[in-house]
Assembly symmetry: C3
Homo-oligomer: 189 residues x 3
């Protein structure tokens, strides 16, 4: 299984995924969590294109797209050997707008089985982001968060039509992360 | 014309479609209503893969996808000979999430002219489902119904972009089925 | 840069785009505004298929689709020579439903960098349309406007997945067109 886990910053997707993986480990089902950005960085580093992660942003869009496709191929190969959770973004907020995290060319190399969207209420995401100033998170505001989550559902549906995957929306409301993790475990199981 | 009619259980899509077809028959315009699942069952039965409809679910995903594509080809051929309403699902709710009813490979064989989504208010769908316990319908709850209808609009837009069809959303509020059927007749006419 | 600017009638997309282009001109950045329908008309006129713009609608869907693709190729070529804003529709409301303004085959010839959606509140759009009876605008009603704007977001996301463009939603609330133009200028800059 190759399960793509998405969710905008502040939804708690990484926590939900980690907890779900822990539960499954107890049942003897193993999943590796792979972060798309990390795979891309490792490829760029090996090609001597960058020496640290900050330099990734400075690569030309053309080079970034090449690395993005290369990463998809690598992750697909990993998924042939074992269950993978791919931690990534449904869309990336850039100064020009929302850029699809999995454009067609990438998606068709990746061939995921399921795309999960972890969502929370816009108000809760906003509060969590304000409490987490350590990570330089974009201040989208409540309306911006709503828009971003709406667009991500739209992107995910298009992804699924193109690669024949399922899309699952998991709500992660404040104080109920165990329930969200349980739902995620059900998808992974 | 090949018109795909979708709508989640409880929207009354089949009633709306049947009434619209009756009206058009009075005008001398003929439509055959074809159910995607039935065409798939007939193909599987002919290939001796199943002997009854319940066995369809037990087929491997790979075999199901093959049959789904074969069915699309057959329905496309039917549509060359006469007007067809294809009764199917925009997405199917599975334990892993929403699975697209018309993934790209199927869609491009089917080449529909219009994709209709019949919708109702989530509260009304919920009530109709509760009153119809005979059909083992999934209890999605009101929030689940809203999500399902939202995702179906997203799926339908992606379908139309890929095959150049139109998408039409028809509301079927309680007690106004004749009006919904009239709207549907307008699409079919 | 090839930036597609969309927005349903009454959102003020053309005003927002024009004002943004003016601002950029002051900064020495040049954009030409090209209207998709005009390019299509010019192609049809040259081929002696029509003699005035009203005749465009009477062309068969097959011929229209050919002209639509031809126009995409021409606009792509223009964009190789200079910055273009392409003024068009995310979806066109037809009697059969919403027809995608940029179906896959057109989109892949066009290869836009950004797709902008200009939105306004449904109530404001409705008022603006009522005050503008000179232009024979479709009376969609507030619910219809909401549906149309929702579907356009869905279409735009599918477009971006297919061509790797960004999608940007710009709100144009009553009395704040300068702010919307500023946002648009930021996308174009």
């Amino acid at each position: 299984m190759l399960v793509v886990v998405t969710g905008i910053p502040g939804t708690g997707k990484t926590t939900v995924a980690s907890k779900a993986v822990e539960r499954l480990a107890e049942e003897g089902v193993t999943y590796s969590i792979v972060t798309y950005g990390t795979v891309m960085f490792e490829i760029a580093q090996e090609k001597k294109l960058v020496s640290n992660r900050d330099e990734m942003r400075k690569l030309s869009p053309k080079v970034q797209k090449e690395i993005q496709k290369k990463a998809a191929e690598m992750i697909r190969k990993m998924a042939e050997k074992g269950n993978i959770i791919l931690d990534t973004h449904c869309s990336i907020k850039t100064p020009k707008g929302f850029f699809p995290g999995l454009p067609e060319k990438v998606l068709k190399k990746l061939e995921p089985d399921v795309i999960v969207i972890v969502e929370s209420l816009a108000e809760e995401i906003n509060l969590r982001r304000q409490g987490d100033k350590s990570r330089d998170r974009d201040d989208e505001g409540i309306e911006g968060i709503r828009l971003h989550q709406d667009m991500n559902r739209n992107f995910a549906a298009a992804y699924c039509v193109l690669c024949g995957a399922c899309v699952r929306v998991i709500q992660n409301p404040q104080g109920r992360v165990e329930q969200a993790a349980g739902e995620m475990a059900g998808v992974l199981r």
